[in-house]
Symmetry: C2
Subunit: 216 residues, 2 copies
C-alpha cells in the first residue's frame, strides 16, 4: 500500500514504455486500458500517472521517440558525397533494418495516428514528412542525372515507402528469411522499380553481389 522495496523510477518508466508499445501494437491504443498496462508492468494504475500525465501523452511519447530514432538512424547512415544509387541503397537498407528491428513501435506509429490531438498529430507528421523528403530528394537527383528513370518522383517515393514499411506486416524474425536476405531482395526490387542503370548499381553494391547481380 505504498512504496515497494527496490522500486526505482527510471526502471519503472522504462518498463512502462516497453509494455505499452507491445500492448498497443497487439490490441490497439483504444483497446489497451491503463489497468491492463499497469498489470503488465506490475504496479497499480495510479502509479502510471507519476510518469505520464495522460494516456495520450504516453502514446505521443512513444511515437515521437520512434520518429526521432528513425531520423537519427538515417543521419548516421546517410552517405556523404555519394551518387544517387549509393544514397538510395543506404536509405532502403536503413529503412528496412530499422523498421524490422522495431516492428511493434512502427506499428504503433503508423496505426494510432488518429488517436493524437491535432497539435500532436501535426508534430509527428512533420517529422515523417521531413524523413520522406530525403527519399524524394534522392529520387529527383537520380532522375535529373539520368541514373534513374522515374515517372513521378512523389508518387514513386510513396510507393517505395509503403512497399518497404509493409515488411513489418508479414516479416517474422527467425522464419524463412533473415533481415539481410529481405533487405537484399528489396534493394534489388527498388533498383529495378526506379530503373537504375545496372552498372552504376553493381559498382555501388555494398554486399550480396553475386546473387543480386543475377537478379537484374
Amino acid at each position: 500500500m505504498a512504496r515497494t522495496a527496490g522500486s526505482d523510477g527510471e526502471k519503472t518508466e522504462a518498463t512502462i514504455r516497453e509494455a505499452a508499445v507491445n500492448l498497443i501494437a497487439r490490441f490497439g491504443y483504444e483497446a489497451m486500458s491503463m489497468r491492463q498496462l499497469a498489470a503488465e508492468v506490475g504496479v497499480q494504475a495510479a502509479a502510471l500517472y507519476r510518469y505520464f500525465p495522460t494516456k495520450e501523452e504516453l502514446l505521443f511519447t512513444l511515437m515521437r521517440e520512434h520518429m526521432e530514432g528513425l531520423t537519427e538512424a538515417w543521419e548516421t547512415a546517410r552517405p556523404v558525397n555519394a551518387d544517387p544509387v549509393q544514397r538510395l541503397s543506404a536509405y532502403v537498407e536503413n529503412h528496412i533494418t530499422f523498421h524490422i528491428e522495431r516492428r511493434h513501435a512502427t506499428h504503433v506509429s503508423n496505426m494510432e495516428l488518429r488517436s493524437l490531438s491535432p497539435e500532436r498529430l501535426t508534430q509527428i507528421l512533420r517529422m515523417r514528412t521531413a524523413y520522406e523528403k530525403e527519399l524524394r530528394t534522392i529520387l529527383r537527383d537520380g532522375a535529373e542525372t539520368g541514373t534513374f528513370s522515374i515517372d513521378d518522383t512523389g508518387l514513386t517515393a510513396m510507393a517505395l515507402i509503403q512497399m518497404m514499411t509493409g515488411v513489418i506486416v508479414w516479416f517474422r524474425p527467425g522464419e524463412r528469411l533473415s533481415i539481410a536476405e529481405v533487405t537484399t531482395t528489396y534493394l534489388s526490387m527498388t533498383m529495378r522499380l526506379v530503373g537504375a542503370k545496372i552498372d552504376a548499381y553493381g559498382a555501388a553494391r555494398p554486399f550480396g553481389r553475386a546473387k543480386d547481380a543475377a537478379a537484374f
Copy 2:
C-alpha cells in the same frame, strides 16, 4: 417514442452500414461508440441492435462484404487464356481501382483485424490469402516462362500488394492525379519491379500506350 413515420428497415440498415464504414475509418472501431453511430444514422442506439446483434458482428459484416466484393471484382476482371503480363496488368488495375473507390472500407478491413474474434479473423484472413494467392500464381507463371525475372515470388507478391494498397494512404480524389493516371504509373512501376520484358508488356498494354512505353 416508437416507430417513426416513413421508417424502413432496408433503408435504415443500408444507412447504418454506410455510416459505420465512415466512422470506423475516421476514428477507429474501438473509438466509435454505438451511440455515435446511432446519432449519425438518426436513430437511437437500441435501434441498431435490430440489424446487428453486436458491435463486432457489424464490423465483421463490413469486412466480409468488402472482401467478397474484392474477390468478385477480380473474378470478373480476370482474363482467360492470357499471358502473365496481361494477367498481372489486370490484377494491378483491378486492385488499385477497387481500393481507391473503397478507400474507407479498405481502411477498415486492413486496420481493424485485431478487433475480430479468432474465428472471424481466420475467416477474413482466409479470403485475403486466397486473393493474394492469385497474384503469386501469376508471378510464378511469369517467372517460369521467363517473362518475369523474380528473386522470391512470395516476397515480391507481398511487396507489390503493400505498394498498391498503400495508395489509399495518400490518394485523395480530385487532387493532382486521376485514378487512371495513378493506375498507369503503378502499372509501369510494377512491370519494372518484376523485370517484365518490354516487348511483351508493350504488346499487352490495354491503355495509355504512348506515355508508358516511354516510362520503360
